[in-house]
């Protein structure tokens, strides 16, 4: 007595959010049934294991059929095959495009290529995410990347429109796309303490201030590529460290402002030149693609680590960077105020975000 065929089709497509999540998480039907049984759903309707099995199978099939549509979510709204209420459609899409932070942290900044895809099983093993789920997430990244790569207009908006995602999720995807496009190095051991959300925040800062789109919002790849002109201009900042007078003047201004306000004042005073050199050098090197990739590692190595070893508090950091940035405006001979602000604005907020254990 084997059930050869077992199908249930509703005029309104019936989908159980719990099962959907299990499917998204890459559970096999049998595992999903086990999870559901433990969840106590059986008691709800005097169901038996058979019933649960049949229901799970059926829903899995439905999801598989829907998957094609979910690849281009706009289609879901005007396809005729499944009658799904709009709020359910939104749920389906949002969940489908949701990802595990642990997983994305591993992939962040990597090229979304076949090569990376081959390594997914390792990543899966490392993060505890099933391979199936890894593949879905990876393919989502790739798909979003491909679509928005060549579109005009703001990146986040594009993602939101084309994939009908929530603002939060669209921003995360923008970060992923941005990182993948610029191939930022995030995998080094020193960067391991940073979470995806840290990077996503930084990406948001970079996108808002350093890309072409920050100035002109109707250019191709406006939000994906950094503003080349701006990067060129950053070289000008070198004067802050190359000019001895300027450097001393800057230091004294900052120290005057900081004196008595923090316990770490001595360390700040002692390290000022080193730290300043670090930040300005990062700026000056950003014309090299290689150095762009190392942006975050440089920030950590050249700035965050020294401060941390001197036991600055977050408040110290805030204080220091604020005065460091503002003091440059008072320097008479320093002419690059606009570039400086554009640069330091991002650096400041990135460092604030990244300065934690």
């Amino acid at each position: 007595m084997a059930v050869e065929l077992d199908v249930f089709v509703g005029n309104t497509t019936i989908m159980d959010e719990e099962v959907y999540q299990l499917w998204l998480d890459g559970y096999t039907v049998n595992d999903a049934v086990k999870v559901r049984m433990e969840g106590g759903v059986m008691d709800e309707c005097e169901a038996s294991a058979d019933v649960l099995q049949s229901d799970t199978m059926d829903q899995y099939r439905t999801f598989q059929m829907c998957e094609r549509l979910l690849h281009s979510p706009a289609k879901l709204a005007n396809q005729l095959l499944f009658q799904i209420p709009p709020h359910r459609q939104a749920m389906l899409i949002e969940r489908y495009y949701a990802f595990d932070d642990a997983f994305v942290r591993e992939v962040l900044g990597k090229k979304l290529s076949k090569g990376t895809k081959k390594d997914l099983d390792d990543i899966g093993a490392k993060t505890g995410v099933t391979l199936k789920s890894c593949r879905r997430q990876f393919d989502n990244f790739k798909r979003v990347f491909k679509v928005v790569e060549e579109l005009k207009g703001p990146l986040v908006e594009n993602i939101r429109h084309h994939f009908l995602l929530s603002d939060k999720l669209a921003r995360d995807y923008a970060a992923i796309v941005f990182f993948a496009n610029n191939r930022f190095e995030t995998g080094k051991r020193k960067l391991q303490y940073l979470t995806f959300q840290d990077f996503a925040f930084c990406a948001g800062q970079l996108i808002n201030s350093w890309t072409v789109g920050a100035l002109d919002n109707q250019v191709e790849d406006m939000d994906v590529d950094l503003d080349k002109e701006f990067l060129q201009e950053l070289k000008e900042l070198k004067i802050l460290i190359s000019d001895k007078d300027l450097l001393d003047q800057h230091k004294s201004l900052v120290c005057t402002a900081l004196r008595g306000k923090t316990k770490a004042f001595n360390e700040m005073e002692a390290n000022f030149k080193n730290l300043s050199r670090g930040l300005v050098n990062i700026a000056a090197k950003l014309t090299n693609t290689k150095d762009v990739r190392d942006f975050f590692i440089d920030l950590v190595e050249k700035f965050i680590e020294p401060c941390r070893s001197d036991r600055w508090t977050a408040g110290d950091m805030r204080l220091y960077l604020t005065h460091y940035t503002n003091s440059a405006h008072i320097l008479d001979t320093f002419k690059h105020q606009v570039v400086w602000d554009r640069y330091m604005g991002v650096i400041k907020s990135c460092i604030f975000k990244m300065y934690h254990d």
């Binding site: 065929l5 199908v7 005729l80 749920m91 679509v147």
Partner: protein, 1182 residues
Amino acid sequence: MPGKLKAKIVAGRHLPVMDRASDLTDAFVEVKFGNTTFKTDVCPKSLNPQWNSEWFKFEVDDEDLQDEPLQITVLDHDTYSANDAIGKVYIDIDPLLYSEAASVISGWFPIYDTIHGIRGEINILVKVELFNDLNRFRQSSCGVKFFCTTAIPRCYRAAMVHGFVEELVVNEDPEYQWIDRIRTPRASNEARQRLISLMSGELQRKIGLKVLEMGGNAVVGYLQCFDLEGESGLVVRAIGTACTLDKLSSGSAPNTNTHIHPNTAPASNACNSPSKDGKEPVFGEDLPLSSGPPTPFRALPTSSSSPPPFSPCKPCSRQSSSSDTDLSLTPKTEEPRPVRRRSGIFLCPSSPILSTETLSLPGSGSVGFGHSSAPRATTPPPPSSIHLDSALLRKSVSFTENLLLAASGMGSGGSAGKEAGPLKTLLRQQTQTALEQREFPFFTLTSFPAGFLVHVGGVVSARSVKLLDRIHNPDEPETRDAWWEEIRQEIKSHAKALGCHAVVGYSESTSICEEVCILSASGTAAILNPRYMREGCLDIGSTDHRFEEPSPPSCGFCHIPYDEFNMPFPAQLTYCYHCRRQKVPDVLFTTIDLPPEASVTGKGCLIQARLCRLKKKAQGEVNATAISNLLPFMEYELHTQLMNKLKLRSMNALFCLHIQISVGENMLLGLASATGVYLTALPAPGGIQIAGKTPGDLSNEHHILTIQKRINDTIAKNKELYQINPPKLFVLDPEVFGVINMELTEETVGSPIPEPRQRHRLLRSHSESSDELSELDLSHGKKDAFVLEIDDTDALEDIHSLLTDASPPTGFYSCNTEIMPGIFNWTSGVQMFTSVRVLRLSNANLTNQGLNKTFTDLCENLLKSFYFKLRSMIPCCLCHLKFTVAVPEEELIQVTVTAVAMTFDKDQSQEKLTEKPTTKGSTETEEQLQFPLELSTDLSTNMQTSNKISGTVSLLTPAAKLYQNQLIMVHSAGVPESTTVSPRAASVDYGSFADRCSTWLELLKMKAHTIRRGSVKTSRRTQSLAHPVSSLDRSSPLPEGRSRSLRSNRSFGGSSVPVVKMTPVSFLPGTRIIKYLGIINMFFIRETTSLREEGGISGFLHSFIAEVFAMVRAHVAALGGNAVVSYSMKECVLMENPNKNQAQCLINVSGDAVICVRETDQEPPSVANIGQTCCSSADGAT
């Protein structure tokens, strides 16, 4: 009369990639109607082409308009090779041919390919300009409306119901033509789809012509079926009910009943008239039903359970046919409680008393016979007195009336075919002729305007086994016609045997396996109000008025239409528990829906009988004979199962009974589904008694006791579950009904008398007691007559299986009627679904028992799955559950179910329920009070006017008076009781009920809350997305988004697809249907050669069913509709060959496309109706 058909191809979207190199498609469209074809331009390199074509015009005959579908083919242009077809859309333009239906078809249609399924969508506009029809000899029938709904459609009123229409067309099946060997599967499938589309068009047109001939303008309850006879051909047949429908003005109530005078006279009255009572009906002829030979079955459960009489099947030369079995025949267990004696009408007490012993059938038959002459002697009153007659006299009149009817029915309808014409009175003649002019007084309707249905006799069914032969000449489908003719004749004669002149809820079906075909027809024998039947019914209607019987409509239909002394089958009759004036059977089986005005105690439930029977594999005639030999046994067993299950649920009537017998190579499957209810008018069912074959055996006895206990417990549990607490009027008069009182209380506990010895004593006691008591006791003695005898393991299995049926989980109800009796406040939640399961039997040692169990489990598990899947809708009811079984291959059992889950408001239902008994009670008091009064006054007048009444009658009157007094006593005592006591009892019940629902409610609220929280967020988003979608058109995304340069301003038809609700029921709760847009009748074939890749057979069928739904929705939306009602999946034929990685499936669906609007103000019409009728009947009486 020609018409002009115009079509315009607007755009396409989501087309598949046809050119691998560019990942794009060069699409164009061919528009074909008849033999004319137009083409659009090629829209190069786009998956979302904009054709915006001109209007393609076809000038055609309206005959073709009806027959032909508009055929739209989307192709991919190829410069060098042949163009590739992407897919097709067939559009049935029939809905455009009625003046008041849709005026334009416009919308997105899925592009369907029989190999690949849906491949994108196409936007089409279709219009028809029809010229006036002047030709009298036309072959077309444009303008005749078709409805699948088996009731008078909601926004129409029936001016007249003309009757049965049927038609059948045959053709060669393209799949079996020689050319099929050389053409592609796609071409073959398309040829088949097109042919069936053509055939159904032709069929509808021909039926339409018949309707026009009859003077009607619509077909209601249109049922179209395909018989895929394989080599022998393809038969498309349809039946329906021709009507003249008037459209109700939009403002008026949606209820079709409103126009009908509430006091429509039952036919029996209308037919009364000057009776020519002296005429002797022809008796002594073979009653076809009771003359059955003593049945070979093991101990008949009871005397009363008449085994359905089976006539031995007579294999005729090539076609062997067997027929039979009236399921109306109801084994009885009932106590006809208030058996009132009168006028020498003796309810023969002897046979019922014997009932516990097995009484041979002929015996009871002859008893009935013996008495039959008696009532005839009682003189019916002179015609003049009829309209003022007392209830009593009226009673006797209607007795004779029924008798005459039955007699005449038997006379003319019986095998002898004699005429009992002279008996017919004038009015009767009118009715009768109105019906008899028709070959078949059949109605495919299952629910009727109030007053239409007068009496219901019971289920009549007939089956016949045929050997298929090749249809040689498609233009002359005589053999098939003759087969159906034969069956219908049989049904007609069965109905006549039940004293009925009509058959309602009529349907036909077939089951084919290889060259054997079982034809089945079934319906419910009934007496109808002639007013709807006659031409110029209005003036006669006023005459009817005079003969009005104020019998409440809530029970009238239960009253027996046949002659009580000449019953076609042994049945226990009692006086109606509602009006107490006419006889009712103890159990009623019907194929119709529960009349809305019927009063029901508690809730109903789905009752199914399931059966498997193995048979030897055989060929040709031998096979047919084997099958026809098996059929009666199957019918009998199904019937017994139904009966047992009904009793187990403490119910006394079945509605919507559908019995399907499906034939396979090595087995027969039988599935009977019905909705059981407790009709207040019918007596309470007795319990089920288990008896052992060897009473001496102690261990056995013990065993039996435990089973008995289990059964009693189940009955008690079910009573609670379905809230069956019938009013107990009799308990209230201890003086008169002392003896019965005891028994009744016992009975209400749900335990039939378990001790045979005690029963004997009781029986003996009443033989000594006074008349009344003996009658009453006697009634009791009969009550426990339903005995299940355990004589072997077989029977044991049966009983176990009886008890295995699980009741639905809390919060769920299920039924196969349109709506659940006892639930009134439906909310708008509707979820229609189709589910298919196929089970492969392990081939080793198949036994009947094993098979039965497997089959039962299959059905039960399906139900369980539904409950689980739909648990978020709780509290809800699965309505219109339609199970279809098939044996697609040896060792495969396929069950297809279509149903709808409808939510209802638990809170309100509670109010309503508590409210209801009181209102019911009050109407009852009115009636009861007024009834005896009328009785007494009438009695006196009667005494004066009818001096000529013979001695027996006058002798009788005192007794009647006595009875009448009792009745008054009972009622006067009973009324306050029923209003105080029963609600109290009820309220206790509902208390716990309320608890349960409050927890549900909380649960629901919580759920709703979380959902809402989610949805607030999302809905905001979707709204904000609505704009983006259109902006997205400009800069299109994704693969096709590459073509950014192609900035077409194509319309995606808005951001979302219109919602189309579907339901197998004829309405949508909470809404009002304002327009019927036409019939949806679609046939699809899907085939695959990559079964594994599509997710196996389940994946294949899953997507196909989803595609079918999508196409139905799209067609409805294109007609401007927002719902499909009376949806049904008529056919789902699945064939697979996993070894070849292939599968094929055929699906046929139908329904009515409608526009419905939210109904906010209306209160449930049924309640209003009851009130109205009650009031007016009260008015009429005073």
